[in-house]
Amino acid sequence: MRYHPLSQADRSAMLAAIGVPSIEALYADAPHETLLKTTLDLPNGKSELDVERFFARLAARNMPASRAPFFVGAGAYKHHIPASVDHLIQRSEFLTSYTPYQPEISQGTLQYLFEFQTQVALLTGMEVANASMYDGSTATAEAVLMAHRVTKRRKALLSGGLHPHYAEVVRTISRLAEDDVETMAPDVRAAEDLIARIDDTLSCVVVQTPDVFGNLRDLTKIAEACHRNGALLVAVFTEAVSLGLLKSPGAVGADIVVGEGQSIGNSLNFGGPYVGLFATRQEFLRQMPGRLAGESVDADGRRSYVLTLSTREQHIRRDKATSNICTNSGLCALAFTIHLTLLGEAGLTRLARVNHANAVLLAHMLANVPNVEVLNETFFNEFTLRVDGDAAALIERMAARGVLAGVPVSRLLPHAGLDDLLLVAATEVNTQEDRDAFVAAFKESL
């Protein structure tokens, strides 16, 4: 076995040093009846070449984004990732290191987490950010739990424009934590009146912008209504690139900002691993879940970084902890921070403009197709189409023509009677040829 350095001679010598006759004797504490007497019914080990062949065959059964005109979004987006990002995250010292428990030999990880926290705070317009969460959906659920701790209330109101999967994650954890969640009906045209529903029993209101249907939402008045009632506004985004062009959630009154960071530096990966972003106001710092890197000094007085405020965490506070989380998406956060460093403000703004322009161009082309309606007045790089018929079937027909055209709303909301709606996303990877291919396949498939 190529990964196992011990030879039989080594094993014998080690057993002799321990003073046992066999490795099996080291399992003497396991109840005898539970020890396997034969090997399991599993294949034998394969060479590296054979393993690669096996996966190449599986991979060939999938249609990757780079092989098709690609317009699928709804919470994960195809963007170009500079080659240097993947090169750097594969450096052994990043890839194969662990949680920086020993700061003296982990300054690389700690400093990039500190940089990541600063970037996320700036991008969201908030004062502090943590070192990342599992993904945008779990970050949203944690934001609701945090709002409960801050306000000492246990009821959240979810906008109907919140990504349905995010809403489901919040409802699942809240139901099992015996908290209360009210979810507004699907809000296709961003017309819901959240303000009328805000009262002093709410811990928080959760609003996504751009919302799952692509609409941009002005949070200012919702924030005011929340604050009048002692509730927090949780602002959610699923497309981090949008923050390059839009007013920051912090600037319009959000108290907690959470979102998905996959768009910057991370591949689609069929849903994970992704990187949850989490930022809030300084005053709520000690209620914020997750890992934090902080600045300090070493014994020689040199600036240093270290994991800090772990008194909020499970390994100290156990059943009083702010959450049960004991990790972050370190490597995904690294990819995010490297890509954002490469972009800088100038690049991010430009990237966001190209995304927006490509989406606007596509929306114009589709609005001219008979019996098709673009429902959005405003959007960033994703919008909702109403088509004549079943959108899921349409998507399948377009896939058969080699175009991955979007996400049918019925896949996210199977029982909402919205089967004729289709979410379409465009990014910088889409060319005019892609848009032409989309429209051609669309017309042929309708």
């Binding site: 080690m14 399992y27 399991l40 599993l42 393993v51 996966f55 750097l88 069929f270 902890a321 896939a399």
Partner: protein, 513 residues
Amino acid sequence: MLDRPAVVEPLDDDKTPATFTGNRGLDQEEPLIFEIGRVDATGVDIDDPAPIATRLGALERTAPIGLPGLTEPETMRHYVRLSRKNYSIDAGLYPLGSCTMKHNPRSNEKIARYEGFADLHPLQPQSTARGALELMQILADWLMTLTNMPAVAMSPKAGAHGELCGMMAIKSAIAARGESATRNVVLIPQSAHGTNPATAALLGFSVRVVPAAPDGTVRAQAVKDALAPDVAAIMLTNPNTCGLFEREIVDIADALHEAGGYFYCDGANFNAIAGVARPGDFGIDAMHINLHKTFSTPHGGGGPGAGPVVLSERLAPFAPVPFIRRNGDSLQLVEDAEGTQSFGRLTAFHGQMGMFVRALAYMLAHGGDGLAQASKDAVLSANYVRASLRDVMTQPFGDRICMHEVLFDDAWLRGTGVTTLDFAKAMIDEGYHPMTIYFPLVAHGAMLVEPTESESKASLDLFIATLRDLARSAKAGEVARFTPAPRLAPRRRVDEALAARKPVLRWEAKAAS
């Protein structure tokens, strides 16, 4: 066994020599991107956006963000310099007990980057992702075979997320029995991972602590004493965090089931027994498997991980969506909980696909017998370290067989003026990442060593010789080797108290003076 002399001469001064740049040879100081970047600099060339009438309404940003950029060469140098301030498993032995730092094959990285996996969207039509669903099913089949459990939930994103998933399934099963109001206590041993009580508390359970016996394990009688009609479940780690196999685990499971409770096993240490014993045969109901530990997906500075949960027949119906269902010859991803007993959704999409690829590649490379050998070698290595140090260091529960990690305490340091922390920091000067220290909490001044199966005997021998020399030095009263340590790392001891007392969690522009 090697018995090397101390190779570090005590320095005259406890400070390292000063240099003009602050650099020391290959260890180069690096400012923050906020200090070297410029708001108008970029390392990415992006085409001009097409001229369009925007559809942003009044929500377009008007204020600057304040994000600096770096060109590509500057970016490369910044992160390469940072990387060189990190210890990693590729650079040396990383004996972090309970964390499992073992070899990370690069073949797995290569495969995870095949565009057929990395460039696949979670919501593209299932008909265009057949290979991905098949991969998830094959991995699920391996996990079920290795554990002898009938079902597995794939979506949990980390070990602690898996715990949440397993306990949610248990809570749902109790609700289905109509016992939500009466069964609200979870039994947790003193030595448990901190995530266990945190998970139970998050779900509204109260925690009842089960004491450990003097030998570091949990006695079935102690569990029986704590059992009552209000007990929903036990959360037990096996092998436990003291590196010991819970000898009475089958009796514990029986007692618990008889009392109407469920058995959650924390699978953090599955890598000691994979291919050797199956948790399903212990009588457990749910167990998460840290794919990153047992099946070696890279830890990436702390994450991401992956924590699929195997489930018993009794808990399987409550598994979260999405799950895979076989429809004749094809696999279907069921994403909608309606009409099932599923407790709902844990995360937006299907789980850590990127980690699934790496873990399955690791499994296929080993095969069934290779995985068993890996577990056995991990246990052999840990016991070799134990046997080679037992005459100089002490163990809290006496010298007995351990599993894949060996626990020492600080009784042997008493009166030397050297603490566990000092000892750990002195290891850094010797080129080692320290072991896990001060965990588990049940041992005073704990030092938990996990060498894993990927160390050669020569590597273990040097490690042992180094620890023996440090132990000799500590006992000889050479405190100067320990208290100022580390002296030879990129940083000396970092002031953790200051960081917590005055938290500085982001860079701020200095006010103009």
